[in-house]
């Protein structure tokens, strides 16, 4: 399953990625599983995605929770709680 991933704000800065194209293993089908999959890349990934920091996710520009299902071709994004206005 191929997806496009985006990172914003503190996540982008710390992970040193703003975007990447990923081909996910067949069992990575939810936001939570995607976080766990990325966390395996190492310390800073685990800290950012599975640590104490609150991380919000969006699929195709819509805010979703950890249980949300990912489909082929989706645009997924991870970012901290928003602080606009």
């Amino acid at each position: 399953m191929k997806i496009k991933l985006f990172y914003f704000a503190r996540l982008k800065e710390t992970l040193k990625y703003s975007t990447e194209d990923l081909d996910l293993p067949a069992d990575v089908v939810t936001i939570l599983k995607l976080k766990a999959f990325l966390a395996k890349r190492g310390d800073v990934w685990g800290e950012m995605l599975m640590g104490k920091l609150k991380v919000r996710a969006a699929i195709n520009h819509e805010l979703v929770d950890d249980k949300a299902t990912i489909a082929d071709g989706d645009e997924v994004a991870f970012f901290p709680p928003v602080t606009g206005g």
Partner: protein
């Protein structure tokens, strides 16, 4: 409905007059302007940088206006949000709502602002005396949004 995400400043008078003149049965235009403060959590702020998620931001702001229109009897709504680097006293956001009467327009304007603060994908980074840091989300902003959900479906 108008949603603009831009680096340039905006002219409050011009925007309000366009909303006013769009319909002759308009009786009220309520607006909110947010500005960059030189103080946050006791630290002096010299500069602010705003990042956003192009595409999702516009979608999110349009959905918020749509929700306001379905809840209150208003004519039109406008959101302008600036991104990029800003200084204290710079205008950062404008929300304006037109309608026949003030009551609905006041409520819709506050609703839009409360949802924008907690749902629209913008992030602020401050430069202060102690260095650069990302602004933390405030629980008081979540609480302000929650007031509107009592007896209503969430928009998420």
């Amino acid at each position: 409905m108008t949603v603009r995400v831009q680096t340039e400043d905006f002219d409050l008078g011009l925007e309000i007059s366009q909303l006013r003149m769009a319909r002759k049965d308009t009786g009220a235009v309520v607006s909110f302007v947010g500005q960059v403060r030189d103080l946050n959590d006791g630290d002096t702020v010299s500069q602010l940088t705003l990042e956003h998620y192009p595409g999702m931001t516009e979608r999110s702001l349009s959905l918020i206006i749509g929700q306001a229109k379905s809840r209150w009897d208003i004519f039109d709504a406008l959101i302008i949000h600036r991104v990029g680097t800003l200084q204290p006293t710079d205008q950062i956001v404008l929300v304006a709502v037109s309608g026949a009467h003030r009551g609905e327009a006041f409520k819709a304007c506050e609703f839009i602002m409360d949802y924008l603060k907690t749902e629209a994908p913008f992030w602020k980074k401050e430069v202060t005396q102690s260095g650069e840091h990302w602004v933390e989300a405030k629980q008081t902003d979540d609480a302000a949004r929650e007031r509107w959900t009592i007896g209503h479906e969430s928009i998420e």
